[in-house]
Assembly symmetry: C2
């Protein structure tokens, strides 16, 4: 398969590239490096990158940022940035990407465990992650007639991220294990699924 | 209890007012009529209305619009309007409203069954509804220390709405039945719950 990975340089993205490269042709896309560059918050930029690549079997998104801050400290700008980047950025990947997928191909987005299991400071991220899951289910339904599958991978806390945050990594799952959820979405037949990367890691 | 209902003139809102009035003092708020007027997309407007009312035991939101349109037809402006109104408008109700709730009081938001069960045309609404549920769970956690409960009621398709849309109302639940879910949120002790109004209607 020919697979585009957007956000290829991140903790999860680089693990996804490494895993998918074992069996597939992977085209790495990110904001500032990789085979092609694209800014997901800009549909023109996405269209240019995907147009240059041509039709592919799958697009995987492992990108998008949202603001982690206590609810009382979250400003209008923090919410806007979170909605604009991780949420609408990935919505854009579906809106633009659907035109660039071969029949029976797939688009895989990334949400996260905070959608269902919030922590102090996650209000904007929980909103964004849950919103992506609702959108992913709906987009899968709408794109069935175009034979494009859409799934959303929900990663748990990632060991490598917990280490960076100076938190206890023992409850985390390694990025290499999380990557298996993306491979399942790309290589399987599911659509409209929220894939819990804690389960696929087992 | 003293309860503010925002969106008091809508199909669900008016049923909620009717039910809660049987036992409580209800202050009706809506954009263009009611005891007080407020535009949920404008925090200053919300702050003015809630400030004038004074501290209350509960705020119920049964308001907010989002665009119903096929995914391929949804424009950037459609997504922006949906995020700005039903999603961030209700997020604003929590951000502003939390300061106006008496200890052990509650804020109840409205999502909808399309969060989990999309239909053709619901991509923006499914995103918004699911996002509200993720936000509600997180806000409940953050506001526990302030002794403010937060729940989200998820109404099924409402009979009265189906009739207006010229769809078969037989699978719908009446607004009066849906209102019971809001009473449960206000009168109970739950927080961080997504209350399925199909279940409370039974």
């Amino acid at each position: 398969m020919k697979i585009v990975v957007i956000g290829a340089t991140g903790t999860i993205g680089s693990a996804v590239v490494k895993l998918l490269k074992q069996k597939h042709q992977v085209i790495a896309v990110s904001r500032s490096s990789g085979d092609h560059r694209a800014d997901i918050t800009n549909k023109t930029s996405l269209e240019a990158a995907l147009g240059a690549i041509g039709k592919v079997d799958a697009i995987v998104s492992a990108t998008g940022s949202a603001v982690f801050k206590p609810l009382v400290a979250l400003t209008d700008a923090d919410f806007e940035r979170s909605l604009h980047d991780k949420l609408m950025g990935q919505v854009n990947i579906v809106r633009v990407g659907a035109q660039h997928i071969l029949s029976e191909g797939s688009i895989t987005l990334t949400s996260g465990v905070l959608a269902q299991k919030p922590v102090q400071g996650s209000a904007a991220i929980s909103l964004v992650n849950a919103g992506l899951e609702g959108f992913g289910r709906a987009a899968a339904l709408e794109l069935q007639s175009a034979r494009v599958r859409v799934n959303v991978v929900s990663p748990p806390w990632v060991k490598e991220t917990l280490i960076v945050l100076k938190m206890d990594p023992s409850s985390g799952v390694s990025a290499d294990e999380v990557a298996k959820a993306y491979a399942q979405s790309v290589e399987g037949n599911a659509t409209g699924e929220i894939i819990d990367a804690r389960k696929t890691a087992a």
